[in-house]
Symmetry: D2
Subunit: 404 residues, 4 copies
């Protein structure tokens, strides 16, 4: 890779900037995955990862990408032809639904506008119609990485409960885990899907399934063929700190450090830091006169912000200019949003200076390309950041409040 001076600003909504201490842990020597040192490591991270998902039940750790955990969630719980109800929040919800179809499931995807979250009422209505309980699972994306929209999970849980529907609730928290409050157990989720490369501040390569007892019971009857992703073999081995096949040992070394960093800061503080970064970003964007893609104020994502450029302006040209000038990567628009939006990641390991440096880079790029915008964007961000810190930490976070 050719050299560009200065640390790269990796401000895509994942993979995220990995702290040096995590990289150093990953770069310690590979160890025997059947030896006592590894067992100690494995038992530790298998226990501690539960605190991140907020569950007292097992979390499976796969050597895989987050997409693998999507597959694992479906394949462990469902049988060929099973009906799954999904909601089209954006690109990643769509990809998950395509995967479900390819695995032989009968997918019903409720259409969305790519600017809003899951409509729990629509889900409740659909479930109410399903008198025969043909629908075996409801699957949703907690934080749609393509649109910058976070959907509340509790209303969906309540939708299921309201009509007494026995379907499993599967939730993708890949781009929200360890950055936006998430509560696997309290919210009654059956399978939560996670990945290492976002809020967990690790490189890609680990994928997670947090599972409920109900999900585990469902797995006992599910008939999609499975082996690599099989939960039971994994759980049996995990009890002794083992894995049924060679785990990604070095990433697990990093995971231990990453979890320690999160608890050292305090999970609630981590969430508040993401909330602040997101609010500072939105204030700057609005001051510029640009539009945030997310339509509803209570659904703004705290881990990324998708920004719409004025008609006729290429978001990809702006990203390319910024990459060349400022050594910063921003996320591209996906699917129908391609070239229309760019996405700002504020997730994982960052500080106020990462946030403001990122915003400054965007401003430099817009000025260089002559994209019209109002002055004062950065000023709005620094004003907010200079004062909002304590306030943000003391408030009950919005998303939690909604859950009540």
């Amino acid at each position: 890779m050719s050299h560009q001076p200065g640390r790269h600003f990796l401000q895509i909504p994942g993979p995220t900037n990995v702290p040096l201490s995590v990289l150093a842990a990953i770069a310690q020597s590979t160890i025997d995955h059947r030896g006592p040192d590894f067992a100690r490591l494995a038992l530790g991270v298998l226990a501690e990862i539960r605190t991140i998902f907020k569950t007292s039940k097992p979390v499976i750790i796969y050597p895989a990408s987050g997409t693998g955990a999507w597959e694992a969630a479906l394949i462990n719980t469902l049988s060929p032809g099973d009906k799954v109800l999904m909601y089209e929040t954006g690109w990643f919800a769509t990809l998950w639904s395509r995967m479900a179809k390819r695995l032989g499931l009968d997918v019903e995807l409720i259409a969305g506008d790519w600017r809003s979250g899951v409509d729990a009422a629509a889900i409740e209505a659909r479930l109410a119609d399903d008198k025969t309980h043909a629908i075996k699972a409801v699957a949703m994306v907690h934080n749609e990485t393509a649109t910058g929209v976070t959907s509340a999970v509790p209303p969906v849980r309540r939708a299921l409960d309201a009509v007494g529907h026995p379907a499993l609730l599967l939730v993708d928290t890949i781009s929200s885990l360890a950055s936006i409050d998430y509560r696997h157990e309290e919210w009654g989720v059956d399978v939560t899907v996670g990945g290492s490369q976002k809020g967990l501040m690790l490189p890609p390569g680990l994928a997670f399934n947090a599972i409920s007892d109900k999900a585990r019971s469902a797995a006992a009857k599910a008939r999609l063929p499975r082996s690599y992703w099989d939960w039971e073999e994994m759980l049996a081995a995990n009890e002794k700190g083992l894995f049924p096949y060679t785990p990604a040992t070095n990433l697990l070394q990093g995971l231990k450090v990453a979890i320690d960093l999160l608890h050292d800061e305090g999970l609630e503080n981590v969430f508040a830091r993401h909330d602040r970064a997101a609010e500072a970003t939105r204030r700057c964007v609005r001051q510029w006169g640009l539009e945030v893609n997310c339509r509803n104020p209570h659904e703004h994502s705290s881990s990324l912000t998708a920004v719409r450029l004025p008609e006729g302006r290429s978001a990809d040209a702006l990203r390319a200019e910024i990459l060349a000038r400022c050594n910063m990567s921003l996320g591209n628009g996906l699917g129908p949003l391609a070239d229309k939006v760019f996405r700002i990641g504020h997730v994982g390991d960052f500080s106020d200076l990462t946030v403001t440096g990122t915003l400054a880079g965007i401003e430099i790029g817009m000025k260089a390309l002559g994209i019209p915008h109002r002055a004062g964007g950065l000023d709005a961000a620094t004003t907010y950041l200079s004062g909002a810190s304590e306030a943000a930490r003391s408030e009950t976070p919005l998303r939690v409040a909604k859950a009540v």
Copy 2:
């Protein structure tokens, strides 16, 4: 992990000792998996990994463990109920056959003695019987990591050809790739399964499928449900240096360096180095009066040696003693060999001193536990290593000769 002085000797037959330069590459910052730097990296490793498998056709790289590549090989090429002929060389061949069964395939496993390689004649006989071509694939393990036995691949290929059988040939080269000569294309293999954590000198976390045109055609008709492992989506994305889902970027950074190291040394020299280490190990073991598990001289593995302890002696107790005293991990016996054999890895990044240090550690352990053995084992090893270097390099390696 508690501190033990001195570098750990990781002498299990994988994961193996990772060179510092590879660890350093993995610990460089995570980059945008959709950016130009990554595309350059990806196109590079996708091209260069072919030289390691010795193929001009595509090699798929998964963010997964080697076991995932087993699943990928089966799931891309076969349909529910398809018959697969496998050969029980040992633990890993057995695990692969179990996986095939769990995926809904009809497995026929030819029994083996866990001390010999694949009997190509037995395979030919079975195929000759299969007039209807019910058998869709023949699957074998090139180097059985549980037993230290390497099976020649060309005779199996000839067995298929001799009876004009159209079954696919699937070969696991997980513990032989980049350490024992292997030729995907010349040997007419349809799917070769590989992993990162052995001869490639990387931590675990990458898995490979090298595929033939015939395998790719078979995939077009295969009906086992698949998504994560699907070849075609991967190949389409790979053309532009992309992946259909987030790849294990940091391990790919390491892969680039690892391949460079292999070519810097020269693949033939790498194989010769492994041959020498294995020969030195066997001479030492025999001088001790212990038995090498592999029965047939032409099937000795060059990447590991499984050693049988005398009746009544616990191999696991010996391994534990050596770990505590000498900070060295050796491989345990698996399945019926549990506690009866220990396995010495001489694979990946090592020198003569790794080999002799390893043997010295075993001798120290045996002396400490009073396991009877003859003196002079290390002397036999140093004598061989002091002289055999040039000779070993100039000889045509046995396994290649067999292929002709």
Copy 3:
């Protein structure tokens, strides 16, 4: 050290942020300082470091701090009681003069105002008076790290030449090397003093003396006792890639990479990048309504900017606030400037986003503490950075022009 999220912004004027690739090189295994690999490394860096000082003559590399190179410059060339003419540009010039006194030299320090550079006319006048050539050396600091003032070297050289004075010219380029244009040979400097931890982007621990033939001749007669710092023993050993005592091998591994990075970017581009960062910083500071400490426009340092706070405001309180809030270190005021100025480092490995992130952090700190300032500072910086890039690179840098 307690964890603060996000990469630390080390924006003091040295030590500077070290690129990951340099850290990785330093963290490669320590090697035999008398072996062939080390000789290759040493001969390489001893040759290449000359290109950084712009000299065809030897550069000495000490395992020491920059202060050691100050001592080496004096001790190799002077005898007890020798008169040295120095110029009080600020804290570091003062420290160097104190050192000279402690070593038994007769120091004459021309008073300065800590806001301007060396007055070559004053030096010329003093030298003209020195008919007996009692003054054996003129010593100056090229870039005064305490004040953010860069003094032109060529006028001082001309001052010496104008009066035909034989004194040696000693120049400290610790905080300007590899960031502000510097030409040891062309400018007729006899000893140039450098350090590793600023523009060279290394951790502290290496110190340099670039020496002229004249300096080397002077050393043959100089009588201050010396051993560790002695040039001749060093030069004799260096010829074979050796050192007279154990060198800082791992830092030299990093030095090789750092020099490669500088040449990869191009030294002239490196200087232009620093010029741009400094100009952007000054525009922002002026827009805030704060005063840059450096009085004369043609003497602004490109590697740091010292900013004066309004009377009654504590610069140290501001720095502490910024450190706690934004995880950024700024330089403190030294000597009479203590608590009155803070110093912004823009030296070494940085990009536009480092610069703007740094400025944003200062703005956040000022807002949090209620330090009055005008809005629009960041806007001024991004406007400049968005347009000035190409222009800055094509212009003849000011400091070079002055040299003509």
Copy 4:
């Protein structure tokens, strides 16, 4: 550097193999040497390094090579023309005496045979003659790295006391610190000289002076010109976790981890481990029929063994062969021992396998070059190592016993 497979065996008597965790700490980001995180680090290591020297008084840490600490010891305590009594144990004692002469001291060097340690009786005799107390310091090397001979310090202390001589006692413990028991305070040493790159398991670049109150008083009157090495300025700054000039911050990060590793293992266990390695090495060497350079059994060094080759055999040719074949560096003979001896380092971070691997490499080299030797050397080593562990740990170490 060209690639050789396997970890390099750096078995010179320093620099030594640096543990990965220490390298990782060094490769963490450089921090502000005037900030609170650094102060915490500095105060910690300044306190903890005393436990390594076994002193309750200050230890100075220089950014320098060990040779710098030699210079500091002399220059802080002595005045021009002062008489220093030294003892020629070998190359390093000789180099130190040359340095003293170059610094203007009047050196008297008692001749030695390069195979024995300091003769305390000879020192006592000389001091007894010195009725005027012209001798201001007695300087000795604790562990002569050139010969593999460790001299007892307490007898020299007693020699001074016996005749009531007020001279300072200066001791070089560069190659014995943290590997052979050493007690600055209990043994009444005035200045102890140390370096980072041996038993401390760090790369070169830190140098130490442990000082007594008496030494500090002497410094107040000493008149050799000094600045960089001056103790008082250093001690004043150290009180607040500061240094008078930029310290080698990243090496200090490593020092913290290295000290933790030593205490984690236990200093007494560290010494016992070195004793065992040295004994195993000697048993192997004697079984080969080669001669250990050290003449007196009670003076064998535990950190290195110098081995004499038979007449007519080139030690350097053997070292070159071993380097090329086995990727191992051994120490060369120095001064009159050049090409006659090779030196085996067993110091710092090593295990039994490092020791036996090292010995195996030597045996391979001797066999390859046809250097005659008896069989069974390695066998002798493994026999000793397999049994001696517990015994060695429980015994009172010889060198301590001698001190009583």
